[in-house]
Symmetry: C2
Subunit: 228 residues, 2 copies
C-alpha cells in the first residue's frame, strides 16, 4: 500500500508539471494562431495512413504542420515528407528512456523546429498506445482517436480513458468489415457507454471512405478566419 | 536536460525495485514447480483468442493457471472462465493509477489467489501495449509476443524493445493475409533485424492455424517432468 501511495504522489506531481507545460504550449499556439490536433490510437490502427489522406485533401487549403511522435525511427515522418510541409520528428527513446506517449515537454522540445506563425493547423501524431497518451495533455485544441475495427468491439470498456477523452473517433479499416467477426453496433454501444454523444466517422485510409466527412468536421472546428 | 536526468534516475530506481520483486516471484514459481509465460501484444492482437485455443489444446494435458492483466474490466477473464482453471484478474486501474503494463508487484499481488503448487503452467496475459510491458520483468520463464499482421510491417523497427525481448513471436490473424497489403517477408526481415534468430510461428486464432505448432514449442520448453 505504501508503495502504491508513493507512486500515486509521484504520478500526480508528474501530471501537474505536465499540465503547466501543456498550458505553456497552448499559449504559444494561441499566439501563433495555430489550431492543434492530438491524434491517438493503438499501434498500427492507421494514423499515418489517414494522415496521408488528410494531407492530400487539405494541403492546398490550409498551411499544415506535423509533429510526429515515435519511440524510435523516422519511418512515419519519411512517409509524410513528400507533402513538403513543416514536419518534426520527436523520438521518445533517446532522451526520455523509451516513453510510451508524448507529454507536453516532448512536444515543447519539437516546437523550435516548426514555423508556428506559418502553420494554421498542426497535427500531432502521438505514440501508438491506448493507455498513457490520454493522460498527458500537450496543449491541443482537440483529441482525435483512430480506432481500427481489427482490435475488437470491447476496447472502449477496457481502455475507457482514451475513448472518453476523444472529441472524435475515426473508426478505421472499415474496408475489412466483411472479413472480420466485428459487431459494429456492439462497438458503438460500448463507445457511447464510456463517452456519451461522442461523434464518430467510419473511415478507410485504403479506399478513402469517410475522409471527406472527417476533413469537413475538422474545417468546422477551425477558427472562422481559417474556414473556407 | 535536468528534468530528463531526474526522470532517468527515478526510472532506474523503479526498474531496480521491479527486478528485485520479479526475482521474488521467480523464487516462488520455482518452489511451486510452475513454468511461467508472459504473453504480450498491442491491444486487440488476439492474445485472449489464442489463449482460448491454447487452453482447449492443453487443458487435459497440463494443470494450467491464468493471470489476466487489464486496465479495467474482467472481460478477458470472463471469456476464459469456461475452462474452469485457476484464474485471477489483476486490474491496473484502481490500485495503481491506470498503469499500461503489469509489473512484478502487480503480479505478486495476484499470486495469493492462485494455487501455484497445483499449477504446472501459468500464463500471464499482459496489458495490451507495445512499449512498457517489455520493460518490466515479472518473474517469467519466457516471453511470448502476439503480433497481428493488421498492424503493419514496420513495427519491429518502431517498437524494438518488445520484439527484442520476445523468445517467440506468434504472427497472428494470418487468415486475413489475402485481404491486407501486408508484406510478410518485409515484416520477418524487420523482426530478424531487431531480434536475430528469434523463432516465429504463423497463427490464426480464428482457423486454428499454427496452434498445434505453438503448443508443441511450449511443451518442449517445459521441464522434463511436465512433458508428455
Amino acid at each position: 500500500m505504501h508503495r502504491t501511495a508513493v507512486k500515486k504522489v509521484v504520478r500526480e506531481n508528474v501530471l501537474d508539471a505536465n499540465d503547466a507545460l501543456a498550458q505553456a504550449n497552448r499559449t504559444r499556439f494561441d499566439r501563433a494562431g495555430t489550431y492543434v490536433i492530438n491524434m491517438m490510437s493503438s499501434p498500427g490502427a492507421g494514423k499515418t495512413a489517414l494522415l496521408e489522406r488528410t494531407l492530400e485533401r487539405l494541403c492546398t487549403e490550409l498551411r499544415l504542420g506535423i509533429l510526429e511522435g515515435d519511440v524510435q525511427t523516422t519511418l512515419d515522418a519519411d512517409r509524410l515528407a513528400r507533402f513538403h510541409i513543416p514536419l518534426v520528428q520527436v523520438n521518445t527513446d533517446p532522451g526520455f528512456g523509451g516513453e510510451c506517449h508524448l507529454d507536453a515537454n516532448m512536444v515543447h522540445s519539437g516546437l523550435p523546429e516548426l514555423p508556428l506563425d506559418e502553420i494554421d493547423l498542426l497535427i500531432i501524431e502521438n505514440v501508438g498506445n491506448l493507455v498513457c497518451p490520454a493522460e498527458f495533455k500537450v496543449g491541443e485544441d482537440v483529441r482525435v482517436m483512430v480506432y481500427s475495427i481489427t482490435e475488437g468491439e470491447e476496447k472502449p470498456l477496457k481502455y475507457p480513458l482514451m475513448f472518453r477523452s476523444a472529441d472524435l473517433v475515426l473508426v478505421n479499416k472499415v474496408d475489412l468489415l466483411e472479413h472480420l467477426d466485428f459487431d459494429m453496433q456492439q462497438f458503438l454501444g460500448h463507445l457511447e457507454a464510456v463517452n456519451p454523444g461522442v461523434r464518430h466517422i467510419l473511415t478507410s485510409a485504403r479506399t478513402g471512405q469517410g475522409v471527406e466527412e472527417w476533413c469537413a468536421w475538422l474545417q468546422q472546428r477551425l477558427p472562422p478566419r481559417l474556414r473556407e
